[in-house]
């Protein structure tokens, strides 16, 4: 049966499976993300959201299916995709400034003109200023707090102007207050640089607060293959565009926000609440779903 035509966006993932031995982690993932989107991916632990990110990054390969960026299959990690991890983003032997400069110094080789070098330094300093960490530019990572390190890590990822910035629970290890500061910073930079961001988190509130689009990845669903088992992995069970709100974190206390959190918690995090694949809330305009005959037996 020919698949229905679909609009291929900037990042396009289709029929993607990932399994480790017998265990299926990602089960027929379809996802298309437009340029400029701040797409957050949330889900219960072990649902494979970081695995999905690593597939886009090229750190791992899908067992089957396609992962495309701008219509080209992604290869090993390269300069087109930036990454911010929860830790290990910074190189411990380099100062904050040198960490940010890396992206420029790799491309220029050993012998570069002093002028280019000064230009790059200015660029890196500017990014550090935008990340509000410039006064610590000479410190080594271990001399910085967790939040400061992530500020540097974001600046470091942005200097190469990647086409998509991947973030794997970047604020997961930070205290609540610092975490909110960082969320504001990310929104600011996202607006200023018009970045496309693929943001993985286990924190529902963070995902709703940051995203222009939220995707819930979950293993809690049902389809025509019967009950869940090791041969069945997580799917995108929820895909919705979010209104771009003002940055104020006060919005997290609004009734609308709290209702959405409740709805998503049920959709993705409740092992007892199983929706059928045909009944997922995939209301985002770029959303699409290719089901196999096994998953959905038409006319039965």
């Amino acid at each position: 049966m020919p698949n229905p035509p679909r609009n291929q966006k900037f990042l396009h993932i289709e029929n993607v499976y990932k399994q480790y031995g017998e265990r299926v982690v990602l089960d027929n993932i379809d996802l298309s993300v437009a340029k400029g989107e701040l797409c957050t991916v949330v889900g219960p632990s072990g649902c494979g959201k970081s695995t999905l990110l690593r597939l886009v990054l090229g750190q791992e390969r899908a067992t089957s299916g396609e992962v495309l960026i701008d219509g080209v299959t992604v290869g090993f990690p390269d300069v087109t995709r930036g990454i911010v991890y929860q830790k290990y983003s910074l190189f411990p032997h380099l100062s904050a400034l040198d960490n940010v400069l890396l992206g420029r110094s790799f491309e220029q080789g050993l012998f570069s003109l002093g002028r280019a070098r000064r230009q790059h330094r200015d660029e890196a300093m500017h990014l550090l200023e935008r990340a509000r960490i410039a006064e610590h530019c000479d410190k080594l990572p271990h001399e910085l707090s967790g939040g400061m390190q992530q500020r540097v890590a974001i600046a470091q990822a942005l200097i190469t102007r990647p086409r998509i910035v991947l973030m794997d629970e970047p604020f997961g290890a930070l205290d609540a207050g610092v975490r909110e500061d960082m969320q504001l910073l990310l929104l600011e930079l996202w607006e200023e640089y018009g970045m496309t961001v693929f943001f993985v988190t286990h924190d529902l509130e963070e995902a709703i607060y940051l995203g222009t689009r939220i995707i819930v990845l979950s293993q809690y669903y049902t389809d025509d293959r019967g009950d869940a088992g090791p041969r069945r992995g997580a799917k995108i069970v929820y895909d919705k565009s979010l209104p771009r709100r003002a940055h104020a974190t006060a919005v997290k206390a609004s009734g609308e926000f709290i209702d959405l959190v409740r709805e998503l918690r049920q959709a993705g995090f409740d092992p007892a609440y199983l929706r059928h694949v045909r009944e997922f809330n995939l209301s985002h305009p770029d959303s699409f779903q290719t089901l196999t005959p096994d998953e959905y037996r038409r006319g039965q």
Partner: protein, 275 residues
């Protein structure tokens, strides 16, 4: 009511800094005391006894070896022995460190390299270097080369394996991260890995130095015309304990100082290491 913290005995003991120093010195004092008593007793029985020379005898010998020009050669014997030993040690350890670093780093990063080399390096590291000493003397002659080669062959597999393991333990995220910043494979090796693995190399050298001294003394004992090991085994024929004991202490002091200097270097130059 407060409780008393014992100063010496038990799990909860918290010796004061002065007590700690005194305790650390205690074994040394005991050994020296036992030696002096035994030496005195033997010398009282036979003033010509050579086995346990008195302190005065040893001081006199050191005076002659370390601070008096040799009548025949015009050199200070202990100084020239030390210099030729340290030279062999430095060349051997330096070569082993360079080769071990390059091999270990490339094996740790490139699966093709480790698939090819890991088994043979592990195999070679198990050969007792002293067992092939005769082969080295036959192959490289009895001059400097054979001694340096013994240290080199003994240490390279150790250092290679150590570096290989440390590179393997580096988080894979770092390499991915560097790739996303546009690093080439060569830049990953020499700009990302090398500076981070360097303090680890110094640690590996510190551990390997004990073995290096062993190989050096053994090689010098068998065929040489200078060096600390050579001297010890030369005067052994005359049962000259008054030379051997100061030489052994001197070697120990040298080894201890080198180890301390390397440790300080890491602490000073690589403050991010050990975090």
């Amino acid at each position: 009511m407060s409780f008393r913290v014992p100063s010496l005995f038990g799990l909860h003991a918290a010796p004061s800094p002065w007590l700690r120093r005194a305790l650390a010195a205690l074994p040394f004092v005991l050994i020296v005391a036992v030696y002096l008593i035994a030496s005195n007793a033997r010398l009282a029985e036979n003033p010509n006894d050579k086995l346990l020379p008195s302190l005065a005898q040893m001081v006199e010998t050191v005076q002659q070896y370390a601070f008096t020009e040799d009548k025949r050669t015009g050199e200070y014997i202990m100084l020239s022995d030390t210099l030729s030993s340290l030279r062999r040690l430095a060349i051997g350890v330096g070569l082993a460190a360079t080769v071990g670093l390059l091999l270990g780093m490339n094996m740790g990063l490139f699966p093709g390299m480790s698939a090819t080399l890991l088994t043979i390096v592990t195999f070679i590291s198990i050969i007792p270097p002293l067992a092939i000493l005769p082969i080295l003397f036959v192959t490289f002659g009895v001059d400097e080369l054979a001694k340096v080669m013994l240290i080199f062959l003994g240490l390279t597999p150790l250092i290679t394996r150590d570096i290989h393991n440390s590179v393997k333990k580096m988080p894979a995220e770092q390499i991915t991260k560097a790739l996303t910043l546009g690093a080439s494979q060569l830049q990953i090796v020499y700009r990302v890995m090398l500076p981070q693995i360097f303090p680890r190399l110094i640690d590996a050298i510190r551990l390997a130095l004990g073995a290096a001294w062993l190989f050096l003394i053994a090689a010098e004992a068998i065929a040489s015309d200078s060096g600390l090991g050579y001297r010890i085994f030369l005067v052994r024929r005359y049962l000259a304990m008054d030379v051997i004991i100061p030489y052994v202490l001197w070697i120990t002091l040298l080894g201890f100082s080198i180890d301390w200097l390397l440790k300080q270097w890491v602490a000073w130059r690589y403050s991010w290491y050990h975090r």
